[in-house]
Amino acid sequence: MPFDLPKPTEWAVPLFIILILAELFYGWKKGRIRYEGKDTFTSMFMGLGSTITGAITATFIIITSYWVWENFRIFDFGYSWPVFVLAFFLDDFAYYWIHRFGHRMRWMWAAHVVHHSSQHYNLSTALRQTWTGQLTPGIFFRWPIFILGIDPAIVFFCAGLNLIYQFWIHTEAIDTCPKWFESIMNTPSHHRVHHANNPRYLDANYAGVFIIWDKIFGTFIPETKQDPCNYGLVTDLDTFNPLRVAFHEWVGITRDINSAKNWRHKFLYIFAPPGWTPDGSRMTSDMIRAAWLKRQEQK
C-alpha cells in the first residue's frame, strides 16, 4: 500500500472492551440492559473471526482496489485533510448502499445476517460481524470512490472510522440524543430500529454515520415508544455455535439452489430479497410488513 495509514478498528479494541465493561456494570446496576454469557461470547468471537478473515483477504482487496485506482481514476485528489473529510462522506454514502443491498439481496444478506442474529442489543452485538463479507460484491460499491481519484488507503481508513462510530450506537443505555444530532447522525435510537424485527421496523435505517441517507432515499423509520424494539431475525437462530452462525444462510442458499426447479429460480434464490421463494411459502420482509399493515387496518 503506497500510503500507509493505521487500522482504526485494531487500535480501538481496548476502547471496545472498556465500554462493554462499562455497559455491563451500568446494565447490572440499573436493570435497563441485559447481557447473556453465551450470546456475548458468540458476538465477540464472531468479531475476532471477522478480523482474522479480513486480514487473510486484505491483500486481495488492496491489490484489486489499487488496480482500479491506478488504471481508472479520473482525478488525483492527493492526501490533504479535506480529502479525508470528502472520503469519509463518500464512504458513508457507499456504506449506506452496501448495507441496503446487504438486506435486500440474499447473497449479501448471507454475510450480513450474522450481525443481526443476536436477540440482544448491547455493545457486544456491535462486534458480531461476518466472516464472509469478502465473498459478496460489497467491495464494488467503493470502486466509484477509487475511480473518482481518492487513494484506497484513505477510503479504507475512513471505513474503519465509520465502523468505530457505529460501535457506540449498539446500546439501549442511551434513549435519544439532542434533536439536532438525531436529525443528522445515526444514533442508538435510529439503529435500534434497524436491529428490530417488529414488522413496523423491518428494512429501515441503513445508515452508518449520517442518517440523512435514509431520509433522502426513503428508508428512515423513527423509533416509537408504542412499539418497543424486539431484536433478532424474523426466524431466530437456535444456536450459539459460531460456525453455524457464520454459515447458516450460505447453507440455506446452497440447499435452495440445489432444490430449485429451473435457472430462474436458482438466480432469484441468490439475488432476490431474503425469504423469497417461487411459491411464496416463506415471507420476505415486504410480505411481513404488508401482512402487518393489513392487520392494523382491520383493527
Binding site: E36, F45, S124
Partner: protein, 145 residues
C-alpha cells in the same frame, strides 16, 4: 493482526462472557404465558390451542388450530425463546423413548429438539404428531419447514 493480539482478544472475550454470565444469570424459568406471547409475536395469524411445556422448561410443543398442517416448536436459547412452525415441506423425524421425545429436522441452527413430558402430556403429544402424520403423509414421514 498477530498472535499476541489474537490470544489477548480471546482472553478478553472469555473474561467478558464469563462476567456477563455471572452478572446476568438465566434464572427465570419460562411459563406457558411467555411461550404463547412470544410465539404469537412471531406468528400473529396462528391460533395456539394447547401448549405442552417440557418438564425441563426449555422446550415446548404447541398444538395449533390447523393441527393437521402445522405444529409449533418453542425452545429456550439463553434467556430468549426461539420459535418455529413445522409445516409439510421437509423431513422431520420423531423418536419416542419413555418420557422423552426427540425431534430431528432439516434446520441448520436447530437440528434437534428434545422434550420431556409427563405421561398425559406425552399422550397428547403423540396424538398431535399422529394426527399430523396421518393427515399430511400417510406413509408416516412428517414433513416440516
Amino acid at each position: 493482526m498477530d498472535w499476541v493480539q489474537v490470544t489477548s482478544s480471546l482472553g478478553a472475550i472469555i473474561f467478558l462472557a464469563y462476567l456477563a454470565s455471572k452478572m446476568f444469570p438465566n434464572q427465570k424459568p419460562f411459563t406457558k404465558d411467555d411461550i404463547l406471547k412470544e410465539y404469537q409475536r412471531y406468528n400473529p395469524g396462528i391460533i395456539v390451542t394447547n401448549i405442552l411445556l417440557s418438564q425441563t422448561n426449555d422446550t415446548a410443543l404447541l398444538q395449533l388450530e390447523s393441527k393437521a398442517k402445522s405444529l409449533g416448536i418453542v425452545t429456550q436459547r439463553g434467556d430468549k425463546l426461539v420459535c418455529r412452525t413445522i409445516l409439510f415441506s421437509h423431513a422431520v423425524n420423531w423418536q419416542f423413548s419413555g418420557d422423552r421425545l426427540l425431534l430431528t429436522h432439516d434446520d441448520f441452527t436447530q437440528p434437534s429438539v428434545a422434550f420431556k413430558f409427563s405421561a398425559s402430556e406425552m399422550q397428547q403429544a403423540k396424538e398431535s404428531i399422529n394426527s399430523f402424520e396421518r393427515d399430511v403423509l400417510p406413509e408416516g414421514k412428517v414433513h416440516a419447514v
